[in-house]
């Protein structure tokens, strides 16, 4: 197998590895950022903006369906959803800046945002 790899293959595999390393580093750097709130969007529009410290259960409705998410100890999880594939529930807890739970059938996304961004979006 290894001997059949040509030069182009090696170049593209090398690029892939460099990209992976860069991505891992970026993710590591982001993981230390402080998080402040949870933004819930449906069809691209913000429908809820909840501070991450507001523990509790939230029911989110969209045109396509609804889901229930829980905020607890600075983490978010979807516990119930009307969608057929339940990928949003399988994803489990998210807790880092930029991470999202996205439910495609329901067209709902739950994103965690960090420090400055959240302050901007809460000053109505």
């Amino acid at each position: 197998m290894r001997s059949t790899l040509k030069r182009g293959d090696k170049v593209i595999i090398f690029l892939l590895v460099v990209f992976a390393a860069f991505f891992a580093f970026e993710k590591y750097a982001l993981s230390n950022n402080k998080i402040s709130s949870v933004i819930i969007r449906s069809d691209g529009e913000i429908i809820k903006n909840i501070p991450i410290t507001n523990n509790g259960e939230y029911i989110i409705k969209s045109k396509e369906g609804e889901l229930t998410c829980i905020i607890k100890d600075q983490k978010v999880e979807v516990v119930e959803s009307t969608c057929p594939d339940k990928l949003c529930m399988k994803q489990g807890w998210i807790s880092k800046q930029g991470e999202s739970i996205i439910c495609l059938p329901n067209r709902i996304s739950i994103t965690i945002v960090g420090g400055n961004k959240a302050i901007d979006s809460t000053t109505y």
């Binding site: 197998m1 059949t4 790899l5 040509k6 030069r7 182009g8 293959d9 593209i12 595999i13 892939l16 990209f19 992976a20 991505f23 970026e26 969007r41 069809d43 691209g44 990928l87 399988k90 994803q91 930029g98 991470e99 999202s100 996205i102 495609l104 059938p105 067209r107 996304s109 994103t111």
Partner: protein, 176 residues
Amino acid sequence: MLEGIKPLIQQPTNLKKLTYISALIALGIVLNFLEPPIFSFIPGIRIGFANIVSVLGLFMFGEWDAIAIAFFRTILGAVIKGSLNPIQFGTSFTGGIFAATTMALAYKFFKKHFSIVGISIIGGISNNLAQFFVVIAITKNNAFWYYLPLLLLFGGLSGWIIGILSQLIYNKLKTI
């Protein structure tokens, strides 16, 4: 014989090719159906074993047949599933066709520099890239951009796996 009426089967020599392509399309549809419950390590991310048939089609019959296989595989798959859900069908159709097209281009112009594995990696990355933009276009949700690098990375990795599998299958088929 009347003039102007052509025999039904004009080129019997193409029968073998036709059979192979039909078998590849059928195989692609079946792989697509069987995959999700078995090989989904992370929710929403799949290896996409169905792309094996596009890679095999490309190396066995050439550029246009690979694109045709991707076209019929995704359309027939959606017909059998019975749903033209814009996200499900849109991602599989666009991803399949775009991957087959980029692989065909890479095959046509850089055949000397790439083996099956390299071409398959290109296909895996372009598959995920196309699917990403379909999802962005439908949902208009910027939260997805965060996952773009991860998607490209997994596209490359699954392309690698598919390339190795395709190489093995191709070597076996060559000896038939």
